[in-house]
Amino acid sequence: MGALILLVQIVVSLVVTALSLPALLGTVPALRDQPAGLLVMGVVLAVTFVGIRLVWPRRKT
């Protein structure tokens, strides 16, 4: 169950990254260079994943 939740969280993070990246590339031309773009992609992915992990509802023990 835990592995499934982790997988869903990763997929949701990837979807959020995929949706926000075109907007970032469109508004900040400097990010169109590969190093800067990949760095921002990694940061967005990491921040989103951590955010999702934090707000994900947990079962009370």
Binding site: P22, L25, G26, R32, L38, G51
Partner: protein, 260 residues
Amino acid sequence: MKSWTLRIATIVAVVLGGVIEATAQTGETTRVHRASDPATGAEVRVSQSPAGSIVMEIAAPGVTVTKRASNGTVTTVVRVAKDELTIEASRSAIIVSSGGRKVEATAARLERLGEAQALIARSPAARQAAELLGRISFGQFSPLTLAILSTRNMLLGTAEATAARGELGARIEGMATEPRLMRVSAQQERVQEDAQNSQGTGSSPTDCWNKYVKEALLAWAEYEDCMKNSGFFGDLACALLYDMRAIGAFTWWMKCVAIS
């Protein structure tokens, strides 16, 4: 703990929503044309403002050339890293600024024209931009080619500019004397690109990134254009199309770099 995470999540959602909404609303100019050159990865965008000024922007990795024509003045700005060159040409004067220096040549001070040309020739930004513009090609009969060649001609040094002027003149003469029907280069490029994309493999990570950026920018531009003229349900349709295109592009990029 739970209330804090909820607050953080709400703040992030509000800020992200605000940023996306604001960026979608700010575009006042109308995009007239957009084209990409596969050889250099450069993207050319032509847009028109409500006031009538026309802007042509050529953006390639590391080099940006912006040409704005408004009220009888053509301003060309070349940016390469931190180096910037500005050439402002009107009926009454030519003003060149580069590296903290500014030269203004007018009808009364015509001798400064050589100085202005020398300032352009010394600019590393002008050299790199001219080199880039020389490699960009949208086909012999594209109006973009003429605009790019004339910009390149302006950025070249004296001796090279004379040769480039000849090349430009020959092209214009060729266009005038040889009218004929032909398949435009954009279609040919698209066919080649589609063939490469369908193959998927064989691209370097840089190629994958450049293609992804191109597709992501097109998706974002389409979303912005779509949002300008739509109601509530239209907005939903725009968002849905954007979501599909953005996720599709991202999935393609992951496949291209073989992460999936």
